[in-house]
């Protein structure tokens, strides 16, 4: 039997557009001889739909679209994710439709609803209570169980979230299934592809099932979906694998799979890079923009952001702005120019001295005898934010923010200054990983595009004389190691200190993280590439004591 895995890139809420694409792929799959085509979780609606699910008119349109898709399923069967509305009340379920002979033959409602990290599924959905096993014709009839994303992850002991006494996979196997279809919208994080295959192989072996897992692809706001759909035999062997980070219709002949022809996944740093490129492209385009603008300081964060933006959108759609001040070193502008030359992007130079002096004349008289402090630095950052937003507003360019996760973690950034922008490309990338990205980008280009000087020089905000990040922050290797434990793993100060870190440093970092929550609350959407990003998956109070 020939099966097509349709790892599709939907736009959330664009029911008509998503349905048209699904129907196009149903026809394409049939034309190329597939007897079954499988689409991702909520393919009709796009994942995550969030509070658009409260818009009943959209839910109704999604049901109509499901029926339109089903009506096209002649000579081919399809499994399609959509939102089901229960007969009673306004309850919804996260559902899969098995479509054949021009209509919906069977429906399945997701049973395990993730409600942690970035997931809010019990906010919207009622859990299904039944297994669904359908019969698939073809070379020989086979019984196929339907599951959705989390249903297949119950053996995952990760963070103690296992639901005891309820294993949809086991129950589906007991229900007579030989194959298991799993449709998902499983967000990317570094290493996720290998983790998924490991879990799927375990499940396939344990329950003696062939698993056909189809994952959404594309960026939807902060979340990156990487596709990487797979077919896993009951031996645990992976026999088909869709590409990561690309929309793709993958065909597999299940009577004669070719495991030797498997694509391989990009390694860790490369996978982060490709995820960020996809996420940037999708956020910009799905928001209706074609071009982006960003400040180029000559430093590594803006250089890496610019390089990723060029990969995502093309050099002619990326506009760099250098905004030198009285504190900018000569190399800053040189490095920004070299970067722009290498990337072949436009560079505007907009010196801020005039605006800076005028703002000083405006506010300094109100400071009385207070000594200079961070205030004077923030003023400059906010002038730059104003300039960038003016160019954004005037030309319709989306402003990219260039800050990294380490800065955002400890609040080493200016609200309404360098935090301004529509998308924070690197906000889940720790500083040390930004360096890795820079080296990777340079290593894979014909000519290195990120100036070596931007990589080598000590990082500085250049907001006062001879400033250097490490004047006020611990070395980034140490800072990132502490942040990883405090933020990603929710370890306490005591636990981190017990791991061999200096108590004073750990306490200071923890305090900085907790006290800068108010800044992050107002940060732009940031692309998630780790197990725990700042943003929708980390919900902290502000007016609180945190330790």
């Amino acid at each position: 039997m020939r099966v097509a895995l349709a790892q599709m890139n939907p736009t959330v809420g664009d029911i008509a557009g998503n349905a048209a694409r699904i129907i196009g792929w149903v026809h394409a799959a049939r034309a190329r001889g597939a007897q079954l085509v499988v689409f991702p979780e909520l393919a009709v609606f796009g994942y995550p739909p969030k509070d658009l699910l409260l818009r009943q008119a959209l839910v109704a349109r999604n049901l109509a679209a499901r029926d339109q898709v089903a009506a096209q399923c002649h000579g081919i069967a399809a499994v399609v994710g959509y939102v089901e509305r229960e007969a009673r009340g306004t309850g919804l379920s996260n559902a899969a439709a098995f479509c054949a002979d021009g209509r919906v033959q069977a429906r399945y409602a997701k049973r395990l609803l993730p409600t942690y990290d970035v997931f809010d599924e019990t906010r919207y959905f009622t859990a299904g209570t039944a297994v669904q096993v359908v019969e698939l014709g073809g070379d020989g009839t086979v019984r196929v169980g339907l599951t959705i994303c989390e249903d297949l992850w119950n053996d995952e002991q990760f963070e103690g979230r296992r639901v005891y006494g309820l294993d949809p996979v086991e129950q589906t196997a007991v229900g007579g299934a030989r194959w298991l279809i799993n449709i998902s919208a499983s967000p990317f994080e570094a290493g996720k592809q290998h983790r998924r295959e490991h879990i799927f192989a375990q499940q396939a072996r344990e329950h003696r099932l062939r698993i056909i897992a189809v994952n959404q692809v594309g960026g939807n706001d902060d979340l990156l979906f990487d596709g990487a759909s797979v077919v896993v035999e009951e031996t645990g062997q992976v026999v088909a694998r869709g590409p990561a980070f690309e929309e793709h219709l993958l065909f597999v002949d299940l009577s004669n799979p070719e495991p030797e022809a498997l694509v391989s996944y990009p390694e860790r740093v490369e996978s982060i890079r490709r995820g960020l490129v996809l996420g940037t492209r999708d956020y910009v385009r799905k928001c209706g923009f074609s071009d982006v603008v960003l400040g180029l300081s000559g430093g590594i964060d803006s250089a890496v952001t610019a390089a990723l933006a060029v990969e995502a959108l093309g050099a002619e759609h990326v506009h760099g702005v250098a905004m030198p001040s009285r504190y900018s070193s000569a190399h800053s502008l040189d490095d920004a120019r070299a970067l722009a030359d290498n990337l072949e992007i436009e560079l505007r130079v907009v010196p801020i001295e005039g605006a800076h002096r005028a703002m000083e004349e405006t506010v300094l008289p109100h400071f009385g005898d207070r000594a200079p402090d961070i205030t004077e630095e923030n003023i400059q950052a906010r002038i730059r934010g104003n300039i960038l937003m003016a160019l954004s507003n005037k030309f319709g360019w989306l402003l990219l923010t260039t800050g990294n996760k380490s800065e955002l973690g400890v609040g080493y950034c200016t609200l309404y200054g360098d935090m301004s922008g529509g998308l924070a490309v690197l906000s889940d990338v720790p500083k040390t990983a930004v360096y890795e990205l820079a080296r990777r980008i340079n290593a894979t280009a014909a000519e290195p595009c990120i100036p070596e000087n931007s990589i080598r020089k000590p990082p500085s905000a250049e907001l006062k004389e001879n400033q250097c990040d490490q004047d006020t922050l611990p070395p980034y290797e140490m800072l990132d190691a502490i942040l990883e434990q405090y933020v990603e793993r929710e370890r306490s100060v005591e636990e981190i200190v017990a791991g061999g870190f200096d108590r004073g440093v750990v306490e200071r970092v923890a305090r900085l993280v907790d006290h800068s929550e108010y800044k992050r609350r107002q940060a732009p959407v940031g692309l998630k590439v780790t197990s725990r990003a700042f943003g929708t998956g980390r919900r902290m109070p502000i007016a609180a004591r945190c330790s």
Copy 2:
């Protein structure tokens, strides 16, 4: 029997501080003859704890604090809300401890976990499965059932959220309870106090129970808790009522209650005013600030915000800043001065012309032949944002944002400009309600403090010549009516048009709301006073099609 209802104002995460206050009130209640004292939901931790619940060290400290409280309960019983940790895995429950004779005698786990609007309880908690009825000694032994917040709201058909086949109140009554204790952290919204009493009375009559309901008080970020604890007899009669918006230890002699002495709740506009005052005071103080700063434009929004801030913090802690520009009318500064005089707050005048001209000289050359548009207006708003943040940074004053819900709904505000600030006092108050607040504030003062001219003149952002809000927006009465349906009720354009509104206007408002989601994502915390506020209870995608 004499019972004390302890409507307490905890700080989220401040386990030591909250426990000390609980213990103080246990002693106070005993000293004044109470045999039972009841504290709100999660009193030990503060509600909502959000992702602080993932910090295991904090959860452990909360358990220890519960035991410290229990150890003080001699000669008095107490019901205290806290976070329970289940023996298996890391599962938590939202729990109540019944403490007497120096130890925890019984525990109850909340059964209905709200996961809608601002609530995320299934993200953190496992639902309890058992009723809990304890015996209370005293004048005569009585059987008392324990419930927590949502447990008592299952008859509420609102939005179809009823959980079928599970009514914790009914099961508790069947379990032999004569009294029902309900501890809650039930957020305020206009009209909520009456709605609560209506539901409690229904439940009391239906299940023939006396209900003792104790609610948290205080502002925690966006959420306002209003206290308004009540005792309802099984006839449905309210016999005791705690004050709204005040921390209070309310004593009731249940053998001889005095329903004629009930306090009455403030009417709608007054309740919004008092909620905003409480929320402002708590946010400012719980964040560690004493003073606030805000821009005074001479308009009604900033005038009302300033008046509320003075009520919350005292005039000496409120700093006004007028920032006239070339487009400011003469009355703007006059009205700001009159307001500051009336409120007896400091007023600084910081003209922006110099900074404005310098910024024009900096960026206009980069605009080529593009015509002036919203860009030039935003530049001015962002200069003002920069000035206010500079004063905030230099003097440690928290910046209050003055925008209202109507503006925020349609995006009639400048990101990093007038949207700058730590707290948006009016961001859930529609413009028409801002007028009501202004009139109410003036009517209740010895001398009206908000200049009549600020109330009467046509609203204007004054960012270009002869500008007026109604140049680009429909009249506020119409805009607010449409926003109420589109945002609060999630009605579709079709449904709103069917209600008699002009299709063109409704479509335009809906589009503006959907397209300005990116601004609201970066808005400061705003105080919630309606059934649906922008912020944590409304989770919309940005890169999406919404209609």
